[in-house]
């Protein structure tokens, strides 16, 4: 099985630590390894090779962090995109380089999974489903009516009940709809993880998005392959810009999953967290006695429930609570924790002000 890791996300809701040059997945957000490094490590026992799809700008980071996480002993290929075209093209570009029977475990690079044992069990079920020809998704038990995620509606259980057929994919719901989903019980959070054989995915892609398959083939053929050591399969394929731009930008859900036959959901309770906001980072991090989460160097006086990140800096909090304080050399964010979802809007506003060119975003 190959682990296809998608590293194209920008993670703007975790600005200013996460930015174009150093997106969320390559930053130390929760202490210890980066999210990308944790993703690699998480799958070491499951797979025998990796394909990393990432931006050309991020290649040096990805290469170094992969090497550290895999201890340099795992087969890996990189596909470098000159620009992002959402998930379906990224997955297609990877699958086009694999034998049709190869099982592909598609994972984001920027999520956290705390229950490794449950994860390994779920992945084993997904692999089994994939080997039987299913396109498997991982459905996270919906712990509460979250409005920030898409949902997967389960249909008929398979004969051994380890996974279920999928009835429908649901867009991010409003609160009352989300409440109804949780109450109904057969709805799961869509985690963005998938498992299928390369051939089955490309077959369904050819059926429902033939234009994408064709343009992806051309882009892959035009790709500049470089094998650093001059032997074996190419390690790095760089897709040219013109060919990349020709591929329609669509998510795998929209392009394939919502339309395909034999789509399965593996229900799982694996301690999944998409770390989609600073508040989510706060929730997952360890805290001190005053419920502050921080790196070294924090001095909190009469201050509680704050998230503070500012590597290498002495930070003092005095009589403040429920704040997010994220410091970097050129930008500082001080935000109310409950409003951390709005950081994306901040970045959009800064972008509109032309600050992207200064490396600030």
């Amino acid at each position: 099985m190959t682990n296809l890791i998608l590293c194209g996300g920008a993670g703007t809701r975790l600005w200013p630590l996460s930015r174009r040059a150093t997106p969320k997945q390559f930053v130390d957000l929760i202490g210890g390894q980066t999210l990308f490094g944790r993703t690699v490590a998480r799958n070491l026992a499951l797979v025998d090779s990796y394909i990393i799809v990432t931006g050309a700008e991020q290649y040096p980071l990805a290469k170094a962090q992969f090497k550290a996480a895999a201890h340099g002993e795992m087969k890996v290929g990189f596909i470098l995109e000159p620009l992002g075209r959402n998930t379906a093209p990224a997955i297609a570009l990877a699958c086009l380089g694999l034998p049709p029977e190869e099982i592909v475990l598609v994972t984001p690079s920027d999520h956290e999974i705390t229950d490794q044992k449950a994860y390994l069990a779920a992945a084993a079920v997904a692999r089994e489903a994939a080997e039987e020809g299913w396109l498997a998704t991982f459905g996270i038990t919906a712990a509460y009516p979250e409005t920030g995620y898409g949902y997967i509606e389960a249909g008929t259980p398979t004969r051994d009940s380890l996974f279920l057929s999928v009835r429908a994919f649901k867009e991010k719901p409003d609160l009352s709809t989300a409440e109804a989903y949780v109450k109904a019980g057969r709805y799961y959070w869509n985690s963005g993880m998938f498992c299928f054989s390369a051939g089955r995915f490309l077959e369904e892609l050819g059926r429902y998005a033939p234009d994408m398959l064709e343009t992806a083939k051309k882009a892959r053929e035009a790709g500049i392959a470089v094998s650093p050591k001059g032997q074996g399969a190419p390690d790095v394929v760089t897709i040219p810009k013109a060919e990349m731009e020709a591929i329609p930008a669509q998510s795998i859900d929209y392009a394939v999953m919502e339309k395909a036959d034999r789509v399965a959901v593996v229900p799982c309770d694996i301690g999944w967290n998409d770390l989609g906001s600073w508040d989510a980072i706060y929730e997952i991090r360890s805290k001190d006695g005053s419920h502050n989460a921080s790196n070294e160097g924090l001095m909190a006086i009469n201050s509680t429930r704050n998230l503070v990140m500012g590597p290498g800096k002495r930070i003092i909090l005095l009589d403040v609570e429920d704040l997010i304080v994220i410091d970097t050399p050129d930008a500082l964010l001080v935000a109310r924790r409950s409003r951390s979802q709005d950081v994306k809007a901040v970045v959009d506003a800064l972008k509109a002000g032309g600050l992207e060119d200064q490396g600030l975003l």
Copy 2:
């Protein structure tokens, strides 16, 4: 008249911008000139020479900022202290180098005065009193019962009522005492500004603190005088450490003013502010439409009544109010505005942790 500017303060309550190497008076706190530069500029029309008493470490800053503020055309001498011994020794060291009849206007370097016209009028009255042999103080009309200042109790008005004799100096009062002072009307805030002839001050010092006068004389004689251009009076006198340490450390109030005869108070309403906390800096600075005070580079979203300083940095506030955010390259303070007096305690705690040696304090 000579303006004696005392620059020995550390301004720890304005940490982390104010610190030993760059104390409060030499930092741009309220926009435009530094407080030291503003002090020099404020007195240009009043005096024909300056004496600056400051720490040896601060001399380059003081010299450069003096030159900029005085446009390089004013006579100036520097007395460099190897360590601070409070105000009375600093004033003695300066007066010992002046003719006895020279009128000395003693001013802190770290206060703000917004009504220049009223200040010039008050200084003229103080000068007149000094020429008549008084030791004049500047008493600020007590606008409210402040517990952070000392008070001057006025006695008999002089014949022309422009100034009054002083009955007593009062330590920082508790709130009910301060309220009684304000109600009584004859109590003024002690601004730390004085005016007298050099001879009269030294005469009273010799009477009430003879040991200080003697040790100050020895220190002044042991001082290493350097005239950068090799001609005229020495520009810079550096006091040796051993001789400085031999001088008793006392304030001018305690050593002289509280005991001397013919002490006067010039009542004045001059827009005085001792800028003794970040909250005071907030109050005096200009604000945007959401009552935020900041340097350039602030983006405040749904955020009000904050003071933000972080030169050269992009700072984003999101849904926060009444905060102080002070960013420097190696330290960041985020504090509730009403608690800004406690910053001194923070610095003391950091000092106890041995952080002074790292230049952080």
